[in-house]
């Protein structure tokens, strides 16, 4: 009892801090061999020849594979079910490399060190092809971007246009029109654990894949497509994961490991180095945006006209969803009578983009929230007031998909957050004029809960009572370190009168679990949590019926609490009930449910930042921070706060430091190590306050909705707005490097 809304420690926390949890790089198997990749130093080139003689001569080297010796099956790493239609443009190793860091070959050897040495001993002859290294260049040259089969490698890969209301009339009637250009950088996930995968032959000619992934079924679908191995012959298991943030949503190594394991009949493991993780996996797409806002004198947004150009890099992955996703989030925040949106995604010869916490949201919110602040300044209206005048009300219908935003509490986040931050008094403070200048900024944000209506947004859960009184929960669960397993266990335990640690959770295994979309799209708590709650209710019903028999009582009068089945007549533990049933040869109570979502409510947030800018050095210190979040209800306030703290850390980096910095002339990544890629570390973190708005979402489990992705969405614009407030500037190119700040003064 009392498991929901409690600060329950992570159910795998002790194992983690005790160093007992085995991550993929800790796992070994008898006879296991190691792969190392050869990566392209060129942004766009034909691989003419490959000389592996020196590599093969090294003792311990087993073999080398490249495009001439692997199946040339094109695939898309972002698909999440077998048969999903997508732009199939990627191959394990292709005859043409399309970015610095693209895969050229793999060496397999007895040890990882030998494999790395052998990879370095391989010489490759390239014939350079013209490279497109910036989104501008890509946009200026629509059409084919080099050899490859249409529709792949044609720009733009997606173009979403949307008009709502009458923007032209609204712009003509506006009291003020403000235009702002915003660019956001290509950032990297920087999970502590680099990408890794292990594959090995299993009984019956099948291949097992152990992978720190976000969906075992996505791995199955992608590997099947890339290797030609039937998906039924692929058994995928999720390993513990040392951080993903979306970076491991798309299988990168899995097809190669599976292919090699099948070819060699041996366990094959590949663990990337830090540099390889930077240059050869995924990033957050860079965006260039332009927003024109038509305002009334009173601070109402009359219309917006948005143009967004997204650089998805060398392979489509899921990049063609980005313009639409960005639009989906853009139109859920404010009540805007007229909207025009033009979003394009283009290929360039740069590292591919992919899922990353927020999936387009940080980009589009940076554009919209920085633009709105600059418009507010011209109107002389306080940034909080202007947001209060435009935020959507609960149960509003958004104009793009026509969905209700549910019990969305953006306004509560804003007004309660502003009060707690003491916004008015701080805003009224006289502007600093000396070397150090303080400023405050606010940004609002919204995010979705799950994939409805875009996909079959459903999930299945099985639960059963085990001998001993524990309850087993089986679903395709992928805890990425955020604590989703703990949250789901709390939900199940609440219904069953147990404690979270009495719920046994099996990590996702494609042989054991019913299909699920995976950990993505802020769907774990809201969608899977509701599926778990419903299954737990069904199981509770079963248990009560059995307990009623055992207690000689009416099932309606049996309660489940404190690990007991109780009635006026007596009580028994679930363990005793299980024993009682086993003694009678009965099957233990079990239940399974499939829950299909019928809506997609919004989560909301308002973030408040105070910064101090050193106008001599250009250094920005974030000195105070408050995050107000509409989470419906926090199943576990401690984990919710943890998600928000981490979101702020990523957001500070996005605002101030992070950029993989691809050289527009050479295509080389300049920041491909932690020495060059600056993350916000502990010293840069401000004191953090979290305010939870818990007004309940009727369709969510116990009223809960998502927080994982939205936590990072408003951070960068809040900080940029604070810097612009401090300096009276219009800075809008992220990150705000000291050079950029000084140039604006």
């Amino acid at each position: 009892m009392g498991q929901v809304h409690q600060r329950v420690p992570l159910i795998d926390g002790a194992e983690k801090v005790g160093g007992k949890l085995q991550y993929l790089a800790d796992m070994t198997m008898p006879g296991m061999v190691h792969g190392a990749l050869v990566l392209s130093p060129r942004p766009h080139a034909r691989v003419v020849s490959l000389n592996a003689a020196a590599a093969l001569a090294l003792p311990g080297v087993i073999g080398v594979w490249w495009h001439e010796t692997v199946p040339q099956l094109r695939y898309n790493s972002s698909i999440w079910y077998v048969g999903q239609v997508a732009l199939n443009d990627e191959a394990m190793f292709a005859p043409v490399v399309r970015h610095v860091g693209d895969r050229v070959a793999v060496v397999v050897a007895r040890t990882a060190a030998i494999a790395c040495a052998a990879a370095r001993a391989i010489t490759v002859e390239y014939a350079d092809l013209p490279a497109i290294l910036t989104a501008d260049a890509a946009a200026a040259n629509p059409g084919s971007v080099g050899e490859g089969e249409a529709p792949a490698f044609c720009n733009p890969i997606d173009h979403v246009k949307f008009v709502h209301g009458n923007p032209d009339a609204a712009f003509a009637a506006a009291d003020l029109v403000v235009e702002t250009l915003v660019s956001t950088p290509r950032s990297h996930h920087c999970a502590v654990e680099p990408h890794a995968c292990l594959a090995y032959p299993e009984k019956g000619g099948r291949i097992a894949i152990v992978s720190p992934c976000q969906s075992v079924f996505a791995v199955q679908a992608v590997v099947a497509q890339a290797t030609g191995i039937a998906e039924a012959d692929l058994h995928v298991m999720k390993s513990p994961i040392g951080g993903s943030f979306g970076g491991k949503a798309e299988p990168v190594l899995d097809p190669i490991c599976a292919f090699l394991a099948a070819t060699l009949g041996l366990p094959v493991r590949i663990v990337l180095s830090r540099r390889e993780t930077f240059v050869a996996t995924r990033t957050r797409s860079a965006m260039q945006g332009r927003m024109r806002i038509a305002m009334s004198r009173s601070g109402r947004i009359m219309a917006r006209d948005t143009v967004a150009l997204v650089d998805v890099g060398a392979y489509s992955t899921g990049g063609n969803y980005l313009p639409g996703s960005m639009l989906q989030r853009l139109v859920r925040l404010y009540d805007v009578p007229a909207e025009r949106y033009d979003g394009r995604a283009v290929y360039t010869n740069t590292v591919p983009s992919g899922a990353f916490r927020g999936y387009g949201s940080p980009q589009i919110h940076a554009l919209a929230e920085i633009s709105l602040d600059l418009a507010a300044r011209e109107l002389g209206i306080d940034p909080v007031t202007i947001r209060a005048r435009n935020l959507v009300a609960p149960d509003a219908i958004e104009p793009w998909q026509g969905l209700s935003i549910g019990n969305g509490r953006g306004l509560d986040c804003l007004s309660r957050g502003a009060a707690m931050f003491d916004w008015q008094a701080r805003w009224a403070r006289r502007r600093d004029t000396g070397r150090f200048r303080r400023g405050i900024g606010v940004a609002a944000a919204t995010h979705i809960n799950g994939c409805y209506p875009g996909e079959e947004e459903a999930t299945s859960v099985r639960m059963r009572l085990l001998p001993g009184g524990m309850v087993e929960l089986v679903s395709a669960l992928h805890d990425l370190g955020c604590g989703s397993d703990t949250t789901l266990a709390q939900i199940a335990a609440e219904v069953l009168g147990l404690k979270a640690h009495q719920i046994g959770i099996t990590p996702a295994d494609s042989d054991l679990c019913p299909y699920d979309l995976g950990t993505r799209a802020s769907r774990m708590t809201y969608i899977v949590g509701e599926a778990v709650r419903r299954t737990a209710l069904a199981l509770a019903g079963e248990i009560r019926v059995r307990a009623a028999l055992a207690l000689n009582e009416d099932p309606g009068r049996v309660r489940l609490e404190h690990g007991l089945a109780r009635s006026e007549e007596g009580e028994m533990s679930l363990a005793a009930l299980a024993d009682w049933m086993i003694g009678r040869g009965q099957t233990l109570p079990a239940a399974s449910e499939t829950y299909r979502a019928s809506g997609n409510p919004s989560s909301f947030a308002a973030h408040f930042a105070e910064v101090e800018v050193d106008t001599f050095t250009g250094r920005v210190a974030v000195t105070d921070y408050l995050a107000a979040h509409d989470v419906g209800l926090a199943i576990n306030p401690m984990l919710v706060e943890g998600q928000i703290h981490g979101g702020i850390q990523i957001g500070i980096g996005y605002a101030l430091y992070e950029d993989v910095a691809i050289d527009p002339e050479t295509g080389q990544m300049r920041a491909d190590s932690f020495a060059r890629y600056t993350l916000a570390n502990a010293l840069e973190m401000p004191p953090l306050k979290v305010l939870l708005v818990e007004e309940g979402e009727p369709s969510g489990p116990f009223g809960a909705k998502a927080v994982g992705e939205i936590a990072t969405v408003p951070v960068a614009p809040a900080i940029v707005n604070a810097v612009n407030h401090a300096l009276n500037t219009r800075l809008s190119d992220l990150p705000l490097l000291p050079e950029r700040i000084l140039a604006a003064l």
Binding site: G434, R435, F436, F616, T617, G618, T678, L683
Partner: protein, 286 residues
């Protein structure tokens, strides 16, 4: 026989013996520069671990000098009370090197021998006119830090700092992409005395605006001999910016560094004179 062997001598004499052995010597102290991934490692000769030689470690006052063993860790420098009183610029630079884990291993000798353009300990050692005690197969001698050139087999055994009484004022500031665990894009050390309020014997050295630390004589001249006043500081600021223009005329970072150096200069002066950098004295922008 072309192989790298490892020696863990326990005394300077043992190192001298190795020096006459004839094989190439490679010294390793904290290993924080030498062992990082991607660096070329020596393939033959003797890798000499300096970590076991007690004589190479520690800080002592010897006559008119402070003597710092070359294998003294950066963490020791940062917490040493004598240094904090006599050459705070060096304590501050040590405290801002890397992060705790790095400071616990990194040594002052390694920082000097590695001689990275951004090395944080070098500007303080330059302003203090440090001399290095060097030993090689030809014997031992003293070399001014500005004249030191690293070369294989040449061991720094100690750093000697002049220790005048009263001690001069000194300070250090650096600028990287964040506050801690960051390589300097610019660093600055200053040393001076005050005579009746006048700034005298001023020495200023900047790092990361050239392959080696740069003595900023224009800036020294702008402030030297003057009282601390807004006017003097303005001249000083201009001179600092001019120094950057001269040092890196064509680099894209020039525009930023020519202004940032003023921030560092003001920070150091403020610290040396017991002011806050927010004091109105420093408000006048460059």
């Amino acid at each position: 026989m072309n192989m790298l062997t490892v020696a863990r001598p326990r005394s300077l004499d043992a190192i001298s013996a190795l020096m006459s052995d004839g094989r190439p010597l490679h010294f390793i102290a904290g290993g924080t520069d030498m062992l990082i991934a991607g660096r070329l490692r020596p393939k033959d000769g003797i890798l000499v671990d300096l970590g076991q030689v007690a004589e190479l470690s520690g800080i002592s006052v010897v006559g008119q000098h402070i003597r710092i063993g070359a294998a003294t860790t950066v963490a020791r420098l940062a917490e040493d009370p004598v240094l904090a009183a006599r050459l705070p610029a060096l304590s501050q630079a040590a405290a801002e090197c890397g992060a705790v884990q790095i400071r616990n291993r990194a040594t002052i000798g390694g920082n000097i021998a590695e001689a990275a353009p951004a090395a944080d300990l070098l500007p303080p050692l330059w302003v203090a006119d440090a001399r290095l005690e060097i030993r090689d197969h030809d014997g031992s001698r003293l070399v001014a830090i500005a004249d030191y050139i690293a070369s294989p087999g040449r061991l720094i055994t100690a750093i000697l700092l002049p220790d005048p009484d009263p001690a001069p004022k000194s300070g250090f500031a650096k600028l990287g992409s964040r506050r801690e665990l960051t390589i300097s894009k610019l660093n600055l050390a200053m040393l001076m005395r005050q005579e009746g309020g006048r700034i005298v014997d001023l020495r200023i050295v900047a790092g990361a605006i050239g392959p080696r630390p740069q003595r900023l004589k224009l800036a020294e001249a702008a402030l030297g001999g003057r009282f601390l006043s807004p006017k003097a500081l303005q001249l000083f600021a201009k001179a600092l910016s001019d120094e950057v223009d001269t040092a890196i005329p064509t680099r894209s970072s020039r525009v930023w560094k020519r202004r940032a150096i003023v921030g560092l200069g003001y920070d150091v002066i403020a610290a040396m004179t017991g002011h806050s950098p927010r004091h109105p004295l420093f408000a006048g922008a460059a």
